[in-house]
């Protein structure tokens, strides 16, 4: 992994189109500004992991589901079950 030290106000350039600016830095957090073309998806890494996990979970259920799906009568709405 490439490691670069930067001060607030300084930036790094990734390829031709992506610029990452260090806006602020303090108490264990860094504030970054990212300039990138529209087609480059910028998201927090954990959002990406969650997205991938959701896609896997939905696909697994849609293709396999359960061996014997429960009857509609075997399930009750959750919210009515917990809110009297």
């Amino acid at each position: 992994m490439l490691v670069i030290r930067r001060h607030p106000g300084q930036a790094i350039q990734i390829g031709e189109d992506v610029e990452v600016l260090v806006i602020d830095c303090g108490s264990g957090r860094v504030k970054l500004g990212i300039r990138a073309p529209k087609q480059v998806h910028v998201m927090r890494s954990e959002v990406r992991h969650t997205r991938e996990e959701n896609l896997v979970a939905a696909r697994a259920f849609a293709t396999a589901g359960c061996e014997s799906p429960p009857e509609t009568s075997a399930v009750v709405p959750l919210l009515l079950a917990v809110v009297p």
């Binding site: 896997v56 979970a57 939905a58 014997s68 509609t72």
Partner: protein, 152 residues
Amino acid sequence: MIFVSAHFGPIDVNESSTIEFPEGLPGFEERRRFLPLQHAQPDGLIFLQSLEAADLCFLALPVRSLRPEYEIALMPEDRETLGLPQEGPVGIGREVVALAILSLVEGQPPTANLRSPVVIHMKSRIAVQAIRPDDRYQCREALVLEVEAVCS
């Protein structure tokens, strides 16, 4: 309203038991309305059935049935979406329901996403998939359960 689910067939949906994700879920940003259904057994499986896509359904379990000590940690924007105060603890089971989406992929050990629980405000029925600001839990936490027993 009758909704025909790919998994359950026709379901009579009562508006007051539906939930809305104002921002969808990561990967399913356009899917806003869901019906959470619970297996009629204590701490049973929960099915998050989309009311916009008949074949979209997530399996989930309450976070505390997986980790009894689980406490919610919310980002400020998720508190705002849920209409919760910016400070203070969030009561699982009192104000909100917190569910971990399960990944049951054939040939792989089952996992639960405890990093990004689905948090439902019980009164307003607004929901978010709230990614924790810390990394105390992961997206793929090992799940110790008998898949066959759960599905029967």
